[in-house]
Amino acid sequence: MRALTWHGKHDVRVDTVDDPEIVNPRDAIIKITSTAICGSDLHLYDGYIPTMQKGDILGHEFMGEVVEVGSGSTLKKGQRVVVPFTISCGSCFHCSKHQYSACDNGNPADNQDIAMELYGQPMSALFGYSHMTGGYAGGQAEYVRVPFSDVGPIVIPDGVDDDKVLFLSDILPTGWMAAENADIEPGDTVAVWGCGPVGLFAVQSAFLMGAERVIAIDHFPRRLELARKFGAETINFKESSTYEALMEMTGGIGPDAVIDAVGMEAHGLFVDNVVDQIKASTFLGTDRTHSIRQAIVACRKGGRVSMPAVYGGIVDKFPLGAFMQKGLTLKTGQTHVQHYLPGLLAAVLDDKVDTTFLISHRLPLEQAPEGYKMFHDRQNEVTKIVLKPGMAPQ
């Protein structure tokens, strides 16, 4: 099959590789119909994520048609499914608590040591995202092997367009969980840092959860415009001081809840890393925490901090004093995608959440390397690229 493979910094290629097969009983093989490039993929593209290997197949936002099933799968050939980016077993302690992204068992035993050194416990597995999180082949390909297919994938009714449901795989549940983690109360003012896909879905979700005002922060005019489309007020941090503007807009109180949807993606200062240095806290990077620092300082006393944004290591200059003195709470984590799928699929089918607005470009899989470059170089207008295997050249 054809697949987008990683070869190094700014070097991704569409190669011919072996077709996936059923390896374990609970597996299914999916023929990909749509697969998106994520902001997180740009990190791999920029070479900032350790434990990548040449030839790794990328992609963690994908959907398609079931073409083969193992004896333990509950899926049927011909079904259309969206697959969560987190690989979760459904039967460990964490899965039983619906903390799917903390699953004990998705990550192969030999890979678990890396995260244990870094974080104290092994991390769960993700598709197409380095060997620390499992080394699984991703879905920017014609086919993909999906482990635990009886737990993860959600079946999509016929007649519903791919574009409408594809983002159930990651960014929609991530934006939703970000808003949920902000414990929004009616009348709240919620501030969202970052108007990428995650921030924009957090804006929509916050309104659905009863926020009275949502203030979205970014510097790309096109992205701020999208936030306004959903009713948010906006701050362009290139034009105004974010803190000053927030204080003025909230009468000096500060937002009741703040959401950091920027993270290390923002300035890309994720330190170039090698595995054998992991132990020595080499993920140090100070600029990257800019957005979470600002969010904590701006948040009202007794307010809530939600952090969907991804961080990898040890940070400097974390405003621990402000955090304590103001009595804030913080919730974060990789998204427990499986937990949110049924509810969010219903919300999409009922048109309560708009998903297709985000897609700015559609390309055939063969043009994926061009897509990566566009997404990397032109963030203002390239908000989301969907790759379709077999689509005519653009």
Binding site: E21, V23, C92, N105, A109, D113, G134
Partner: protein
Amino acid sequence: MTGWQDSNGRDSAPPSTTKNDDVVASEIDRLDGSSGDTLIGRTVTINRPPAELYAYWRDFPKLATFMENVVSVEQIDAVRSHWVVKAPGGKTVEWDSVVTEENEGSSIAWSSAPDAEVRNSGKVEFREAPGGRGSYVTATIVYDPPGGAVGKLIAKIFQREPAIQARRDLRRFKQLMETGEIATSAWTRKQVEEENA
């Protein structure tokens, strides 16, 4: 045995984590009645009842399913089994192992036969975990290879430090018991064969 309090009389930490050599030495004596060198202990929580885990483990030939280095285990009689373990250069080492003590549903202790090339003994315990979380499974293994220089020789035979190997084997046991399969990122059967070679 439940808890660790009575094994060293000082605190609740297991002997394999102690920095005190005397504790290690006495624990080794307790395990195999002779002097040993490397004590490896490891506990994992498995979301299944102790009796079920015990039953799987006691069926020794099945251990090769999740113990990466083990090629095969053959049951000779009720207490004796024959082990074939991978060694470098496509070779294998073999030994007989004898069950020295067992408590139905909760623990199994074993020791290699006196003439074994790689002398080892150990114990695996299955205790009910609090909060309905299944079982704490603790494997304690002592290696006592001939001629000293323990770490290196063992590492050479097993191609990996035994502590790391034990940890990974226990994780695979957990995966198998909780999910019915062992996680792998391989996406073709050929890749799986290569991994297992």
